[in-house]
């Protein structure tokens, strides 16, 4: 068997909110430099899975977890491991664009400043780099000091991607990043995702099957908290193994 490198592995992960079991014994991995799509009808636990990977669920007092999540071989829930360091290494883009109510520039500089970058030239360079990577630079380079909420929805979401990239994380989590955008902006961001996988491990949550097929290399189908199928996107598209997967991709459930 060929050795494949992956930043993130999940072993026998189950999670609860209170007494409600959300994820059921999930085992999978996310390959480097590729896009892994997590599909499933809404409410099946896609966001919960994503938020378990950067420990954002820790904020919910009733959250409980069993099983192991490895980031570069290290258990991220091991007592004493730094959640802040982890979140710096695993970027996240949310369902609705959520730029901070401050200037475009300040949005990008927020993360690097938190983590100790002080030099103005370096910060300027980070701003330019991140915006270029998010394919937004040409559109906003003259408006860096304008408030970010004044940008269009699609631009805001790309700004959020740029903001996530500003601290240079190897992994990018994206929770239905285009579901609130118009088709044109959504198309731009899909292109961007494909572009970004050259340098990042991308985990893309979506309930849109076509989108998953368009951009992902591997796909996981989650149903009622269970990982029903996990395979290369091509195989799932052509010949799903499980009938629930087939039902979902043909639009009969979800």
């Amino acid at each position: 068997m060929v050795e494949i490198s992956h930043n993130i592995e999940i072993h026998n992960l189950s999670t609860w909110f209170g007494s409600k079991k959300i994820l059921r014994d999930i085992t999978c991995y996310f390959r480097d430099n590729s896009v892994t799509a997590i599909m499933g009808p809404s409410g099946c636990g896609k966001s919960t899975l994503l938020r378990t990977l950067n420990r954002l669920n820790d904020l919910v007092p009733s959250f409980r977890r069993e099983g192991v999540v490895l980031f570069r071989g290290q258990d991220i829930y091991k007592p004493g491991s730094s959640v802040y360091e982890l979140r710096k290494r695993i970027g996240m883009v949310f369902q609705k664009p959520n730029p901070f109510p401050m200037s475009v520039r300040d949005n990008i500089m927020y993360g690097p400043k938190l983590h100790g970058v002080k030099d103005d030239n370096e910060l300027d360079k980070i701003v330019e780099d991140s915006l270029k990577r998010a394919a937004l630079w040409d559109e906003v380079k003259d408006e860096l000091d304008q408030p970010a909420p004044n940008l269009s929805g699609g631009q805001q979401q790309r700004l959020c991607i740029a903001r996530a990239l500003s601290v240079d994380p190897p992994v990018l989590l994206m929770d239905e990043p285009v579901s609130s955008l118009d088709p044109l902006s959504a198309g731009k961001i899909e292109e961007l995702i494909v572009e970004l996988k050259k340098d990042y491990t991308i985990i893309l949550v979506t309930h849109n099957v076509q989108q998953a097929f368009r951009v992902s290399d591997e796909a996981a189908f989650l149903y009622l908290g269970e990982l029903v199928e996990f395979n290369s996107t091509k195989k799932i598209a052509v010949a799903p193994q499980d009938e629930r997967t087939e039902a979902f991709i043909t639009g009969r459930i979800g």
Binding site: Y84, L86, N98, F100, V167
Partner: protein, 354 residues
Amino acid sequence: MSDSSETPNVAEASGEAQEGIDTGSPLAGFANRLLKPLRDFVKADTPGRIDKAGKAALILPTMASTLIIILILGFLWYEATPIFLDPSGGPGIIVSPTWDPNRNLYGIAIFIVGSFLCTGIAIGIAVPLGVSGAIFLSEFCPMRLRTLIKMIMEMMAAIPSIVYGLWAYVVMVPYIRNVMAPELQSNLLTSWMPWFQGSTNGLSLLAGGLILAIMLLPTVVTITSDALLTVPRTLREASLALGATQSETARKIVLSAALPGVGAAIVLSLGRAVGETMAILMVTGNSLQIPYTLFDTTYVMTSIITNQLGYAFVFPLWRSALFAVALILLIISICFTVVAKLFIRWGMKTRGYI
């Protein structure tokens, strides 16, 4: 046909007329800016010509409150005119520090200074404390405790100021005299500081500032925490997902996002602080001097009016001088409000809220 061709003509004509006025003189331009929204409002649904009564019902309260402010200003101005016109008075009273009605000296500078210092101390204490408290409440405090604390805060805000005054007179003033002053004046760290010098009987600038701070605190805490709670959760999550701690998120994102609301909290407390009368009157000692240390007695604008209006009523100049104090008080609080509004607007602009 004739209808549809006429309407744009009218609009054009009035547009031209407005431009004509605009370029004419800046004053007319200003008047035009004031009147334009009114005109637009009246014209808003011209085609249908419905709902005149509803419109009147909307516009009357707005007009009425503006009118009331103008009337009060006019009334105070009218009452204060004698002192401003009299040779022994004049606008100079604003900077003159001697208040002695027996000698026809009506300098009101000490009251202005007293009010500013008391307000400054109170705001200086209440705002940082109240804002930190609000951050604790909205970001770190469990829901149950938050509800309880907010309830207590709201009750505190409803306590009449005379009650605060009585408490301060009986508890705080002796505490300042017997504990605080000796303590601060004897220890090496603070004893040399100029603002802690002087003997005191407890009735002091400090007492006034402190009791005012205590009275402002609930307002600052409740309004600020409400403002913080309206900041969407997704902004907090975005910050945390970048590796920020909860405290960094609270300070750099939540507080910054809610700054216009916090500004509003500060305006309200400023207004209350300069206008507060009863509690201040009871604990500041009310002697006619400019305070040089925190332990000096002081006299604020509201106190002089309350204390002397009864005697002054039959002496036109004296009485008029007191109205001048009130006029300046009102102008100061209007200025506070305007500055704060400008600040809030600026905050909303730079944050992309408007």
